[in-house]
Amino acid sequence: MTNPPAAPAAGHPTYREAIRAAIRDALDADDRVFLMGEDVGRYGGCFGVSLGLLEEYGPDRIRDTPLSESAFVGAGIGAALAGMRPIVEIMTVNFSLLSLDQILNNAATFSYMSGGQLSVPLVIRMTTGAGRQLAAQHSHSLEGWYAHIPGIRVLAPATVTDARRMLAPALADPDPVLIFEHGTLYNVAGSDDLDEVDIDSAAVRRDGDDVTLIGYGGTLGVALAAAETLAGQGISAEVLDLRVLRPLDEDAIVGSVRRTHRAVVVDEGWRSGSLAAEIAARITERVFYELDAPVERVCAAEVPMPYAGHLEQAALPGPDDVVAAARRAVG
């Protein structure tokens, strides 16, 4: 699992194709699995992920829904309770807010509220992130909010391998799993070099000794690019890909920082109350006395994402910001 996600390679599958292959595998492996969401069928999926699947599997298993996020996410929960294994696609994270009630008040809480009588084996996939000039109602990174919620698991595949392999263990999980796909990754190609991956642990994508750069999903590429620049400046950065945003692989985070003594968290969410804040707090709780510098955070500007390209880029955490933060930490 060492592919930098930003390197398209001829003959390798794209992130989009990897997810499609994963869905196809899941449909083949278990007849309880079905895909449901807005325009997943005839249109081929808002981002082309499910293109062709309707022809292969039919409208029962590749099920177009009306624009009724609350209804079809809730229906996914009901179907999961009744023994099916739904994969629900929500086009974009901003629209998922219309179904937040179902996700938070039902999916995430049924097991607990029922004293363990109920399980909700549901997978919800959605696109997240900015970078395509889609402005404030299509571009936010709200996965950190979902990572706040007990009762669900939150995944953020950053590599083609993870895009290809995370779905199976997500479906096998008896509890709800949310998978966040960063919109800028769909066209990225890379090799799919493992048959299986877990959905518990973070992964070191680049080894280093001087500072740990922590990213996930869309920010992994930013962290890797920064590490490359830092290497040219004589700073050896380790890049940790969180992969799983809930539950966090705290041991991996702490283990890496214990070696490097410095950390920079790269998060496309807003800084206030962010996942980056949570990670910084955990590092402080566990390895405060081993830190040689304050934990740095590189997050999105605290603005609704703007449309204009130059403003959007200015709002997003970029490799230069990460390099600067790492240099501050290294001192």
């Binding site: 624009l67 009724s68 889609l134 402005a135 299509h138 703007p306 200015a314």
Partner: protein, 322 residues
Amino acid sequence: MNARGRDLFASMLRIRRFEERCVELYSARKIRGFMHLYIGEEAVAAGVFDALGADDNVVSTYREHGHALARGVPMTAVLAEMYGKATGCSRGRGGSMHLFDVSRRFYGGNAIVGGGLPIAVGLALADRMRGADRVTACFFGDGAVAEGEFHECLNLAALWRLPVLFCCENNRYAMGTALHRAQAQTDLALRAASYGMVAWPVDGMDVSAVAAAAHRARAQVAATGEPCFLELRTYRFRAHSMYDSDRYRDAAEIDRWKQRDPIDTYAAELLGSGELTEQDRTELEASVGREIDAAVGAAESAPREPVSDLTRFVLTEPEVPS
């Protein structure tokens, strides 16, 4: 020549030619992000805005170039916004999907399907509470009818007797999903009527019919203070957005609808009745072309919002320098 017919025709033509230019500008990467075209649906904007007063409120969707232009938002401000320039009507922060012009009571530009309906209810509620007699026109697509907001808002507007003119642009598709594949009851006016409001379907390809219905509906909302619902049956000739390869409808269907092109049919009607001459038409084309050229020129040379202003307008500023 009949001024009203000419105005309706000119309004449609202006929207059509503007968007045709936008396609070129999009291909030239001057405009980015999602861009949704209104081509084929111009009779709806031309007809409805003909009936609205300057003091009425308007709530729109992401397919709103036509609404904004018909409302009188300057073309230069609309195009500059699509360029992401500082002179854009949302100062480059909104883009094609989020055009705002509060001076013209144009309240966006909403890209969450159904998201504008509650806003319209609230605008109308405020007017009711403060005794203003304006009407709030709320545009949304047939797809929005499946959202909870639709039902919640029609109920509230009817229950509280609010002056909202609901304008459902039924272009038969929500992205790739045909109306009958998404909705159990495809008679949308009937569904609105079930909330206890006056609702009727209108031929959205016929600008005279739209204008007549809109005038009647607006007058009724103004007179009764109660909501009214228009199901404007129309069709988009182009794909959902610039990213859509339009594989879900067949070419014959699109061609059939193009036979009813609202601009061509209205032109033929006006020419036939003598309300419009070929010379009028040529002159209109030329003046629209000049307006578009000027807007493109202005957008090209307009300044970008400085990056140092990135965080401006997140919260209200005490004083906005103009």
